[in-house]
Symmetry: C2
Subunit: 187 residues, 2 copies
DNA sequence: GTTAAAACAGACCGATCGACCTGTTTGTTT
DNA sequence: AAACAAACAGGTCGATCGGTCTGTTTTAAC
């Protein structure tokens, strides 16, 4: 159920996906689904916490945490994501960004759930920055700003890639971000 | 009609906004609206070409075109947008990004309409880059990449600002982008 | 083996969706 | 003033929306 919902939310968006569509993608009955997810919002919350958040941890947080350098980690994440796009032959965007854009003005609970993932993501980057020689010299605000800029650049690049259906913006941003990190001595 | 539709699309998104809601926001009848906009898609197309595109031209393209330097132009655009957010007390995001995120996977015609605005936006930045001393030395691909990175950074910063409902990501990105432009000698 | 709760099936509800259709009014052309 | 088309009014269509209902099956505890 969560797999089907996260796939459809990713493919068509939250509002454009009906409960019946999700149910049809599984072998469950409407009653069974209603038993576990009384409302569509509860399904979205479950998708966010059990699918979107783990996806961000796996694709971004862990690679950055274990990378030899911040620059290598960020570059590698971009490369992996670009590889995934090439494999699928379609840019469906970042699940977190997609849902955040659509829902953060609509539903407070969903916005908070999504915001906490952004928070976790940015915190992980700040942590990794603070482990670099240059990062130790920076103030907390400077580290936070650098982390936010990385998240924003990636997010925007993915949006642009989705809008144009080309991976080029991601490739461009991978390179520009790598240069920026070098300039900031955060490599 | 276009004003009401663009406002509601911006506030609630395309799919979350019903035709009746748009009609109720005007003094028109359903029949009158149907006469001019037979389908919801035709309304969206009109909003994109007659409201979203002019908004991008006014808020981004013209300021950058007439700025003393690219860096000053970009910084000024960010400042104006941040000011608008402070005035409204809410981050409703970039109209172009909002619609692009929601519709580029759903509807081909709408995606093309939105993509052409991104194209125009990026072209204007490339043009401005090519007018700088350093820009003249760059290849076309390098200019294109720099323009895409600017668009991506802004887009992502706005998304992050919308998701967190704080202008901080925009302020952070304004500064980081200004530094980056200086480093690239594109100021 | 009995029982109670959890899980599931599937018909069904009112509400709302986008779109349509028949008239009527308004404006323009001759 | 007559004729015609564009613009508008407002009721209504079938489809689909999210959500609910009753009843059956499965699971697990004692």
């Amino acid at each position: 159920m969560l797999d089907a919902a996260s796939m459809l939310f990713q493919a068509h968006g939250y509002h454009a996906t009906g409960m019946r569509e999700v149910i049809a993608a599984t072998r469950l009955s409407p009653g069974a689904v209603h038993h576990h997810f009384p409302t569509k919002e509860s399904l979205a919350i479950a998708v966010i916490t059990d699918r979107v958040a783990p996806a961000v941890r796996e694709s971004w947080i862990e690679p950055v945490r274990h990378a030899a350098s911040l620059r290598q980690g960020v570059t590698r994440v971009f490369t992996e994501i670009i590889r995934g796009i090439d494999d699928r032959g379609q840019v469906s965007g970042c699940p977190l960004n997609n849902l955040a854009m659509e829902l953060s003005l609509t539903n407070v609970r969903l916005r908070d759930a999504l915001r906490s993932i952004f928070r976790e993501w940015q915190d992980a980057l700040e942590q990794r920055i603070s482990e670099t020689p240059r990062g130790k010299q920076m103030t907390k605000n400077q580290r936070s700003a650098a982390a936010a800029f990385i998240v924003a650049s990636y997010s925007g690049a993915m949006n642009l890639a989705k809008a144009t259906q080309e991976p080029t913006p991601l490739k461009v941003t991978r390179r520009a971000l790598a240069h920026w990190l070098t300039e900031q001595r955060l490599s």
